[in-house]
């Protein structure tokens, strides 16, 4: 059980974020309609869960290779060229993610004094989702690239997706 949770660590956190988001919005609706009271603090929790759902979801999407891409060129070239193309794809994606992580860390550091209105939480908690997600994506990208280099374009394709 523990091993399963650890191997799906990010998936578990992601599921918790989505569940928290659903519970938060539902609670807001209940409170608003049942006792006609609105709790903005719940909205802040929902907003943080939402941001983590997006960026963690994108990271797990990278692990599962579910990001949308155009693959008509990839399907029309030889296996050798496919391998080269996959490496180009990985390099291009990694370059963008590197800047996301680098700039994201600076962004988090610079915004440490900003806080949310009701819960007084540092905004950097929310902003940290971006470089954090970038790092996770870079990790899975590196793993994938290693697999491409070792096994070649054909087997990479058999596993599905691009990256």
């Amino acid at each position: 059980m523990m091993r399963k949770i650890l191997s799906n660590f990010w998936e578990t956190i992601l599921a918790a974020c989505v569940a928290a988001l659903c519970a938060g919005v539902f609670m807001q609706v209940l409170l608003r309609y049942a006792i006609k009271v609105s709790f903005p603090a719940i909205e802040e929790i929902v907003s943080i869960s939402f941001i983590y759902t997006i960026f963690l979801g994108a990271a797990v999407g990278m692990k599962r290779m579910e990001h949308l891409s155009i693959d008509f060129l990839l399907k029309r070239v030889s296996l050798g060229f496919q391998k080269v193309l996959r490496l180009v794809v990985a390099a291009g994606t990694a370059l963008f993610l590197f800047f996301v992580v680098r700039e994201g860390i600076g962004f988090v550091r610079d915004s440490y004094t900003q806080t949310t209105t009701y819960l007084n939480l540092p905004m950097s908690y929310s902003y940290a989702a971006i470089p954090g997600s970038g790092l996770i994506m870079l990790y899975y990208l590196a793993k994938r690239t290693y697999a491409i280099i070792r096994s070649g374009g054909a087997s990479a394709e058999a596993e599905g997706g691009h990256l």
């Binding site: 799906n8 539902f26 609706v29 929902v46 963690l56 979801g57 800047f99 700039e103």
Partner: protein, 424 residues
């Protein structure tokens, strides 16, 4: 700007995921300019930090619960049983089913695959040629994107700051116009013997049985449409009520979904949300650069020089239609919409009408041969090749395009329901 365009095209062609290709092209531009690179992270955050977008994961989750928990299946059974007495009824039933089902799960690819798997074998059993059933399901899938709750509308409503409830209301009649056009074509083809005239499929008892089975599932559309159109709930609130209702029905009443499956659905919801919304984040960098370089203003000046809003609507629709075919639907609209919307507003086009027209164009794009992503998925399900389906599909694409023109040039069709229910 040249470097941006070049990197973007090369990245798309190489197969870099669309979200990162847009980010990479924007990065190439920013590296050559004196704009601070922190803009990348700022725009990625502010692009998605908009509360109405919370409806995206909620509708996706509700869609998964409906699909896996037997709710959609029972509603589809009812739709298929009702249209029995008309010639070509099963084809029309497929259209009706798509009206109810599609667009909700956030992934038109998943919807196309699920609906294709249910409808195509059923149509095959009553004598439909696989090529015809594939063409009908594809056309219906393209139309279904207009039916609320529609993920593209939630996303565009968030991006364009237009009431999502008003957009949902605005999609009703255009969807009906397109569905009617497809059904008329099915009827015409059935009369001419091109499709089976399966009138005998109708049975009052069967309708009764299907209705009885669908009573609990039918509350779901009442929650979603009734809440929003009645002005009782916002789109986000309706979405969470749909999640709670779907959860209770699927897990406790029908018992077709286990807790383990709910866990998987939560993860899948997160992934679909992440994959769609990170696109908005990177597209937000791109559209900032476009605005900074005054690209929309340049296009606006050009269009104002021509001075014909109708021409702009047509050009924008064709661009979205072709873009959606190449870029798998939603990504194209996410990239182009922020550039096109301000131009439309400057030209005096109603933003709600413009948004619904763009969604309709996207619907045609995702089933446009030979590259429309949903068409490819449906062909995969039916085991019909793209070249085989192209000929039977073309008349449907033609009637859908004519419907698009009707929706485009009669704004009343889009605006009457939102005005009527007081949402716009």
């Amino acid at each position: 700007m040249g470097a941006l365009a070049l990197v973007l095209i090369a990245a798309f062609l190489a197969g870099i995921p669309i979200a990162f290709a847009i980010g990479l092209a924007s990065l190439a531009f920013l590296l050559k300019s004196d704009i601070p690179l922190v803009l990348i992270v700022q725009r990625m955050y502010t692009g998605v930090d908009f509360f109405p977008l919370v409806a995206v994961p909620l509708f996706v989750f509700a869609g998964f619960l409906m699909e896996t928990g037997g709710i959609s299946r029972r509603i589809v059974d009812l739709a298929l049983s009702i249209v029995g007495p008309v010639r070509g009824s099963l084809g029309m039933g497929a259209v009706a089913s798509e009206m109810i089902f599609s667009g909700i799960s956030g992934s038109s690819i998943a919807d196309a695959s699920a609906m294709g798997a249910i409808l195509i074998p059923t149509m095959g059993k009553t004598g439909y040629d696989n090529r015809d059933s594939t063409a009908i399901v594809a056309a219906a899938t393209g139309m279904g994107i207009l039916v609320p709750p529609c993920m593209a509308m939630v996303v565009l409503g968030g991006m364009g700051q237009i009431s999502i409830g008003a957009l949902f209301a605005g999609g009703f009649l255009p969807a009906f116009v397109m569905a009617l056009a497809i059904c008329l074509l099915i009827y015409y083809q059935a009369r001419r013997g091109r499709l089976p005239g399966d009138r005998h499929a109708f049975s009052g008892r069967q309708v009764g049985r299907a209705f009885k089975a669908a009573v609990i599932p039918l509350v779901m559309p009442v929650i979603i449409f009734g809440g929003i159109l009645g002005g009782v709930t916002t789109a986000t609130e309706a979405a969470v009520l749909a999640v709670v209702y779907g959860f209770i029905v699927s897990v406790f009443i029908y018992r077709e979904v286990s807790y383990a499956q709910v866990g998987k659905m939560l993860v899948n919801t997160g992934v679909v949300t992440g994959v769609i919304l990170i696109l908005i984040g990177t597209a937000s960098i791109f559209s900032w650069i476009m605005a900074n370089q005054q690209v929309p203003q340049a296009i606006t000046r050009f269009m104002l020089a021509i001075g014909e809003p109708w021409l702009f609507l047509l050009l924008a629709s064709v661009v979205i239609l072709v873009g959606s075919a190449v870029l798998d639907g939603l990504p194209a609209i996410i990239i182009l919409y922020p550039i096109l919307l301000p131009i439309a507003v400057k030209l005096g086009i109603d933003p709600l009408h413009f948004t619904v027209v763009m969604v309709a164009a996207e619907g045609i794009g995702i089933v446009l041969p030979p590259v429309g992503i949903c068409l490819i998925v449906i062909c995969g399900v039916s085991k019909v090749s793209l070249s085989e389906v192209t000929k039977p599909l073309l008349p449907y694409i033609a009637v859908m395009f004519v419907s698009l023109l009707v929706i485009m040039y009669i704004p009343w069709i889009t605006l009457v329901v939102p005005h009527w229910v007081g949402l716009y």
